[in-house]
């Protein structure tokens, strides 16, 4: 499967941290989802893990808050409302220490968006590890995103390790893929790590000297 997202404006903006906090408190789940979970759809992830952290650092130059926000793992929460509480708590803690607001320059405000997501099959199947490896190398980044990131919202873990464990029965490989840090790579980085894990697993099997 693969998903594409079409951006949709909510019409809400924030010029400073207090306004950001105020909008995060009431904006719909779809918008929070977009600015956090879907951050990894970007091709060039630099040093942040969500749009809020990115904006706070780049447009407000509030590095400390940016670090705190970047450390929030959206996949650690049961649902978006719990993530929302964590974001608000981080901002509140920061405002308690640094209450002076500072506005972004005009044009660099935070624009709250949401997305319409279209999910569709890409017509590719893997029946064994060799086919899986080929497919992972071949599919679009959006497909990797769908199965590695978005799957975590659907059932708590990525689709790849679930399939490898449940269908192929390879617990070690599933564990290796599960252990890839989702917040530290862009999608091409995730693809490279999965390929590496599968190749290591195959190499290990080939090199075992059986009695």
């Amino acid at each position: 499967m693969e998903c594409v997202t079409i951006l949709k404006s909510t019409g809400k903006t924030a010029r400073n941290i207090r306004e950001l906090r105020a909008v995060i408190a009431f904006i719909n789940d779809e918008s929070l989802f977009h600015h956090t979970y879907q951050y990894f759809l970007k091709g060039h992830v630099l040093e942040y893990t969500n749009d809020f952290a990115h904006w706070v650092a780049e447009s407000l130059e509030k590095r400390e808050l940016s670090e705190r926000l970047s450390c929030i793992d959206p996949f650690a929460f049961e649902d978006v409302s719990h993530l929302r509480q964590k974001l608000l708590q981080s901002i509140d803690d920061y405002i308690a220490d640094f209450p002076e607001p500072r506005d972004a320059i005009p044009g660099a405000e935070f624009y709250f968006n949401e997305t319409v997501t279209i999910v569709f099959p890409v017509g590719m199947w893997a029946k064994n590890l060799a086919e899986f490896l080929l497919a992972v190398r071949y599919v679009d980044p959006a497909s990797i995103y769908y199965h590695f990131y978005e799957a975590r919202i659907r059932h708590g873990t990525d689709d790849f390790s679930t399939w490898i464990e449940n269908v192929l029965g390879s617990q070690e490989l599933a564990k290796a893929i599960c252990a890839i840090d989702p917040l530290m790579h862009n999608i091409e980085g995730i693809r490279a790590h999965i390929v590496e894990a599968v190749e290591n697993d195959v190499r290990h099997d080939m090199e075992v000297i059986r009695p």
Binding site: L7, V119, A142
Partner: protein
């Protein structure tokens, strides 16, 4: 035709296009704008129509006809939406509406399943809507418009089912669904296909441009918002230590009455400098522009206001290092320091030109990243995919739905 994009466009885009085409087969999709030639909108529509057709969608492109007064008024509206102070009287707005009304005699609106109305010129057509989903497509930077002009125009726009802007910052609260879709380039169109070295050199010879030195290029309409004189200033600063030549190339657009005036200003400003080549190309000079972009060492789009600035994506597709004004859609294309450089001043542009000319390896690396960025985000297949996805979503997903399956 779609098969020609195989191996160029992302695979998922092509698969989804086919699926959406199957869903929309036989339905009619009307596009209306105000010019057949010149500017990015006409260019995209020229390329988009045959693809929609091949998907089985009955695509139709109409151009509204207007008199000189109409285009003077719509140019003022355009400038006001981009932040210039303009006076648009009640009488002018009335003429704007009347010309649209007159166009109803020739534009067939019966049995329209979806209509995409491009920019302010034909926006009043929504008053004559008969059927289907109507979407207003705004290609202009409306981030800081003149309020009265914006309010007046948005009285029409609020009557559409949805609006599309190129950049999130441009979206306005109009009480309708507002989507963000960047425009695109066609990798197999005349402007972007591979050219032979011979053809490139012949083109340069035709224009009498030497190729013995690095070439700095800006391709754009002769419009003050594109800051052609700023480009000349930046070139003159960079040239102090770096022997190079500058090409400013652009085509006229029938809906831009100011073009000739600005061209003359730019010629005056260049004051016969033999290293500055100002080229007024006829419409549809796509291969010549392609050749200029392919031979260029550094490509600029130093706009002060910009709808999107597709010439940036065109240059990036040719793996060129790019420098762009940080306005409109340019920051979406240029990830600063990754796929090119964003600049805020003449001096900034001059500095980045010098940096590229003195670091060819960095220029090459950024050019390569830029091409991949364009492949994933700014090809025509992605744009058509997005238009059809919105149409499909408006009909099937409902408001606020997170996802829908195709």
């Amino acid at each position: 035709m779609i098969s020609q994009y195989s191996g160029i466009s992302p695979k998922g885009d092509l698969i989804l296009l086919k699926r959406l085409g199957d869903k929309m087969r036989g339905k009619s999709f009307l596009h209306v704008n105000s010019t057949k030639a010149g500017g990015g909108v006409a260019e995209i529509l020229h390329r988009m129509m045959p693809i929609l057709d091949e998907l089985g969608i009955q695509a139709r492109w109409e151009v509204i006809e207007g008199d000189e007064q109409f285009f003077d008024i719509t140019k003022k509206i355009h400038n006001a939406l981009q932040g210039n102070h303009e006076t648009i009287t009640k009488k002018m707005w009335q003429h704007h509406f009347e010309v649209n009304k007159r166009n109803m005699e020739t534009i067939q609106l019966d049995d329209v399943d979806a209509a995409l109305i491009h920019d302010p010129q034909p926006a009043p057509l929504v008053e004559f809507k008969k059927s289907g989903r109507w979407i207003w497509r705004c290609h202009i930077d409306v981030s800081n418009p003149m309020k009265e002009v914006c309010d007046h125009l948005f009285r029409y726009c609020g009557k559409y089912d949805a609006a599309i802007f190129s950049v999130a910052r441009f979206a306005k609260a109009m009480g309708i669904d507002e989507f963000i879709i960047p425009p695109s380039i066609d990798p197999i169109g005349e402007k972007n296909i591979e050219l032979s070295g011979n053809e490139i050199h012949e083109t340069l010879a035709t224009f009498g441009i030497p190729i013995d030195r690095p070439i700095i290029l800006q391709v754009s309409r002769f419009d003050r918002f594109k800051d052609p004189t700023g480009v000349i200033k930046a070139f003159r600063i960079a040239r102090k230590y770096n022997d190079c030549i500058l090409i400013l190339a652009g085509s006229p657009a029938t809906d831009d009455p100011e073009g000739e005036l600005v061209l003359n200003e730019v010629k005056d400003y260049a004051s016969g400098d033999p290293d500055i080549h100002i080229l007024l190309l006829p419409p549809f000079s796509d291969r010549q522009i392609n050749a200029l972009q392919r031979i260029a060492t550094v490509v600029l789009q130093k706009s002060l206001k910009e709808g999107f600035g597709l010439t940036v994506a065109e240059a990036m597709w040719k793996s060129k290092p790019v420098i762009g004004g940080a306005v409109g859609g340019i920051p979406l294309q240029i990830v600063h320091g990754v796929t090119g450089f964003l600049v805020y001043s003449v001096e900034g542009a001059a500095f980045r030109i010098r940096q590229f000319l003195n670091n060819p390896e960095m220029a090459r690396r950024m050019g390569e990243r830029g091409k991949e960025h364009v492949r994933q985000n700014f090809l025509i297949t992605r744009q058509i995919r997005d238009y059809l996805s919105i149409w499909y979503a408006l009909e099937n997903c409902g408001k606020g739905t997170l996802g829908c399956n195709v």
